[in-house]
Amino acid sequence: MAAVERQTLAIVSEQRMRALVIDLSGAASMQESDIGGLVRLCAALRLLGVTPLLAGLSPESALLLSVSDLALPRTVATVQDALAMFQL
């Protein structure tokens, strides 16, 4: 996850992105240990001025995130919803 974080931050910074949709619909169910990394990535994105948006969360992952004390990013049901939000 650390490598994904580093590379994602490098790419969004390099391409001067203002928003990043993180699609979790193809990811396996999250464990408790995975939440920290995902939230840290979202926090770092915010610091770079990029709006993170989580899409495609599974019910198990949503349950895990809901009990977390960490600042959660904005979420949408699907990638289409996310793109619609950006009026695309």
Partner: protein
């Protein structure tokens, strides 16, 4: 000291020629020692003109030794063989009989086999077979020597000179045949060894070429692998731009903390 005496300044790089030159040097040193000792023994025994013939033989061997030392093996061998024939002729004239000088001619056939081509013993067998008849002409003014049996001091008679000469000629040809066979076998073995060595050299060259080719291919593969690694690293985080300033990060599979 011995290595200095056997030092031959041959220009030939053929190991067989170098070995033969060294062997001829050893043989000539042995012949010189024997001739000198024989001259001393014959002098003490007052068996004249034996000492003089032995001294002449020693000088011949010394001259041949020096020629061989200068790296001219073929000339030295030819001179040695011709010199031995002349010594036989000279010895017969000095002693007044072809015997025992013709006994030494067997040495000519053996030396020709050792230091010449496989056919050399036959060539020299022809020459030394003619020699007794030339000596007969010189000594008896006839190609055939007297046919009377030789009577020894104890009244025992042995076969006539002609019979002894014919026996010696038979021995020359037997020696020529045997030495030709052994020389031929040795020659075949050397040729086979040379052919095998050539095949081995060719195989080594091919292996070296293959090694160079493999090294080149390995370098190419390393380069391709580096490119693939860079591509895999880039594909590991596929941030897809979906609109101006908006990207999509599809996370697939299990999370790895």
């Amino acid at each position: 000291m011995l290595s200095k005496l056997l030092d031959v300044r041959t220009q030939d790089t053929n190991p067989l020629i170098v070995r033969r030159s060294r062997s001829l040097a050893i043989l000539l040193l042995i012949l010189i020692c024997i001739s000198v000792l024989l001259a001393l023994v014959l002098f003490i025994a007052r068996a004249f003109p034996g000492p003089i013939i032995s001294v002449v033989a020693s000088l011949l061997f010394l001259v041949v030794y020096l020629i061989n030392r200068s790296g001219r093996l073929a000339l030295a061998t030819t001179l040695l063989l011709a010199g031995l024939c002349l010594l036989q002729f000279n010895g017969s004239l000095v002693t007044g009989a072809p015997i025992p000088a013709i006994f030494f001619s067997s040495l000519v056939v053996v030396i020709a086999a050792a230091f010449g081509s496989p056919r050399a013993p036959f060539l020299w067998a022809v020459i030394v077979s003619i020699m007794p008849f030339i000596i007969n002409v010189a000594l008896y003014q006839s190609i055939v020597p007297p046919l009377d049996p030789i009577v020894l001091p104890n009244s025992v008679s042995i076969p006539p000179v002609l019979a002894l000469e014919l026996i010696m000629i038979a021995i020359y040809w037997m020696l020529a045949g045997v030495t030709w066979l052994s020389s031929s076998q040795l020659d075949v073995t050397i040729r086979e060894s040379n052919a095998a060595a050539q095949i081995a050299r060719t195989a080594t060259d091919a292996l070296v070429a293959q090694q160079v080719d493999l090294a080149s291919r390995n370098e190419q593969l390393i380069q391709v692998r580096q490119e693939l690694e860079a591509l895999v690293a880039a594909l590991a985080v596929p941030v897809v731009p979906v609109a101006d300033g908006i990207g999509l990060l599809p996370l697939v599979g299990a999370f790895d903390s």
